[in-house]
């Protein structure tokens, strides 16, 4: 009964997003029919692949009732490190670089996690500090220099664009990440424990969930995925710049909130986050189509988050009162 209800709620949230997406697409395609051309769709998907990877990491942190504001800086550091390694040793191919990026991200995520889990520093403060520390380290690492396209090995730059079965490697990686973490969140013990900690930490502790471990794990996942995203970012945009991915945490959080992830923790799903990412991608790509200057992008993103947040809160409250009424009737 409870299981069915929970399923219904999630089904509804994802269904709402699908419908909204469809409604949004109608005027856009009427205005510019080539918006839904395979070419443009593939552009949108490829643009969103990196965001999807990062948003899934952010999802687990928010699910545990935390927040990771340092994602942009981790991307920058690992992306810069990968770019510099590739510049110095062109023999190191794309796949080793992905793993190097992931290990760098993992270390940075673990640092966040240790401070939160064992230092008992609130996640917002920890990551507000590390977002600057990591960005500063990026500048120190690069010596304020950039790595430009001609300094990178062509094989590395070509990697995200290469295709397998007509789909780019970048998208394949995003699919794999989505699949792994979908499975992780639904069918593994640790994954379910993240839900438990986010939903009710006290109750979770009483049934034997190790809170510190879970908090460490979510930040480690976020860091790992940001590291991966950094390695991909440098290849896809064919350069490593110190300021890269500044403010990317906003987009990651936006994707989560749009996907129906509850900011108070404990509710949400990977599928929702993926749809939220897609929604954000369509909106961002549609801005030029509706003749809105790119300068308004920040505003539109903020507005979308606020609207989604309000809708989430209101629907949660409605559910809550309905439940109360039910209980009273019984």
């Amino acid at each position: 009964m409870v299981n069915k209800m929970v399923k219904n709620v999630f089904a509804r949230r994802e269904a709402t997003l699908m419908i909204l997406l469809a409604i949004l697409l109608v005027p856009i395609t009427m205005r510019s029919p080539q918006f839904l051309s395979p070419r443009n769709i593939s552009t949108i998907l490829n643009d969103m692949a990196i965001l999807a990877i990062v948003a899934i990491g952010e999802f687990f942190v928010i699910l545990s009732n935390g927040i990771d504001l340092s994602v942009g800086s981790i991307i920058a550091f690992s992306g810069m490190a990968c770019g510099m390694i590739n510049e110095a040793h062109p023999v190191v191919g794309a796949i080793p670089l992905l793993f190097i990026g992931m290990s760098i991200g993992l270390v940075m995520g673990l640092f966040n996690g240790v401070l939160v889990a064992y230092g008992k520093i609130p996640p917002i403060i920890t990551t507000l500090g590390t977002v600057n520390i990591y960005r500063g380290l990026t500048f120190l690492l690069s010596g304020n220099q950039w790595v430009t396209a001609h300094e990178l090995a062509p094989s590395y730059i070509a990697f995200p664009r290469s295709t397998f079965l007509g789909i780019s490697y970048l998208l394949w990686i995003a699919f794999i990440v989505i699949a792994i973490f979908y499975y992780f969140s639904r069918f593994t013990r640790t994954g379910r424990e993240v839900y438990a900690i986010g939903g009710n930490p006290t109750a979770a502790k009483f049934v034997g969930v190790n809170e510190s471990k879970i908090r460490l794990v979510v930040f480690a996942i976020s860091g790992l995925l940001c590291g991966l995203a950094g390695a991909l970012w440098t290849a896809r945009y064919a350069s490593a710049v110190n300021e890269m991915a500044t403010g990317f945490e906003m987009q990651a959080v936006a994707a989560c909130v749009l996907g129906g992830v509850n900011f108070a923790g404990g509710a949400g799903a990977v599928t929702g986050v993926v749809l939220g990412t897609l929604f954000l991608g369509v909106v961002t790509n549609a801005l030029p189509v509706i003749y809105l200057s790119v300068f308004w992008q920040t505003f539109v993103q903020g507005l979308i988050i606020l609207i989604a947040l309000t809708l989430n809160t209101l629907s949660d409250r409605r559910k809550h009162t309905k439940l109360l009424a039910q209980r009273r009737a019984e």
Partner: protein, 346 residues
């Protein structure tokens, strides 16, 4: 006779213990620790460079941190209640945009001040309304409004700048008190600080903020209108942001959409470093005053020693983390000590 001697010895022992306790309590007080760190820092920089301990330099350096220190004051109230506002830098940008545009259209100085404060207050009230009446987490709301407020100024300004201001507009952010080398801005900060200290420490309003921070539920049951107070906090922060925007625009006489970027972190660092507990209910204006001076002069000293801005960002970020970690360790130490004493007595 021997009884008496024993008694004297005992009382002396107790006194010594009490003295030691008091000393430990005193030196682990956050404000005292901050003062010690501040003095050590001043001594360090004075030995490193002869330009540090110079009255004119020290006063001139306040230009670099007065505005942030002013913003930290209303932030104390917000954090005291367990909320947070990471949209203040964007509110300042929005106000500065309004000021710059109005000035370009030929508005007078009083009109500019009114406009800036109105815009800021409205933005702050919007935050407060969303947080309290829709019961959404402050961090989520202000994360969204951070983009919204900044987005409006980016959208309207684009890559333009507003640089036309009335003739005497530079007065607020650039001038000194007549006949002295004390900046007007710094004096304004000191006055505001005293007002905020009075409100927080000497009025019912201030005590209520502590009550909310310790337990919002208990505060509500004891008849405090928690929602109203939290809305006032956010609105007040918006109001002060409007004021700060005037000072900032007056100091640099140029408004771009990226103005005050990154101030959120620095201002929250000042408050947390000043000993205000991020979970609410603990802290003082004096601590934040010391924290503001500490960070301000740390950056000034590092600048004199030709350290890069990058390094400063790393230091500030680390300070924030250490400032939260350290009080926790101190509390742990104190609790342990107490426990040990209790065991010793029984």
């Amino acid at each position: 006779m021997s009884d008496r001697r024993e008694l004297v010895a005992k009382s002396r022992l107790i006194e010594e213990g009490a003295l030691k306790d008091r000393l430990i309590n005193f030196f682990t007080m956050w404000e005292v620790l901050l003062s010690i760190i501040f003095v050590v820092m001043v001594i360090f920089f004075s030995t490193q460079t002869r330009y540090f301990l110079d009255w004119f330099n020290l006063m001139n350096a306040t230009f670099q941190f007065s505005e942030k220190a002013i913003m930290a004051l209303p932030m104390i109230f917000i954090i005291m209640c367990g909320d947070i506002d990471i949209s203040i830098a964007s509110i300042i940008a929005l106000c500065a945009y309004a000021v710059g545009s109005a000035a370009s259209a030929g508005a007078s100085i009083p009109a500019l001040i009114v406009i800036s404060i109105l815009v800021g207050t409205a933005a702050g009230f919007f935050n407060g309304f969303m947080v309290t009446f829709l019961e959404m987490p402050a961090i989520a709301v202000t994360l969204a409004t951070q983009s919204i407020f900044r987005g409006i100024s980016i959208g309207l300004l684009g890559d333009q700048a507003r640089t036309r201001f009335p003739k005497n507009f530079g007065l607020f952010g650039q001038e000194f008190i007549k006949g002295t080398t004390i900046p007007l801005e710094f004096v304004l900060y000191l006055i505001l600080m005293l007002i905020f200290a009075f409100v927080l420490h000497k009025t019912t309003y201030g005590r209520r903020l502590y009550a909310i921070g310790n337990s919002a539920e208990a505060a509500r049951f004891s008849g405090i209108n928690v929602k109203q107070l939290r809305v006032i906090n956010f609105t007040l922060t918006g109001f002060i942001s409007g004021l700060t925007a005037i000072l900032l625009a007056s100091r640099i006489l140029s408004v771009r959409s990226n103005i005050a970027t990154g101030w959120d972190l620095e201002i929250i660092t000042l408050v947390v470093l000043g000993g205000v507990s991020i979970t609410g209910g603990k802290g003082s204006v004096w601590g934040v005053f010391l924290g503001s001076l500490l960070v301000g002069y740390l950056k000034f000293g590092m600048g004199l020693m030709k350290m890069s801005g990058t390094l400063m960002t790393i230091v500030i970020g680390s300070l924030l983390i250490v400032a939260v970690l350290l009080p926790r360790l101190l509390d742990l130490y104190k609790a342990n000590r107490k426990l040990r004493q209790q065991h010793g007595q029984s």
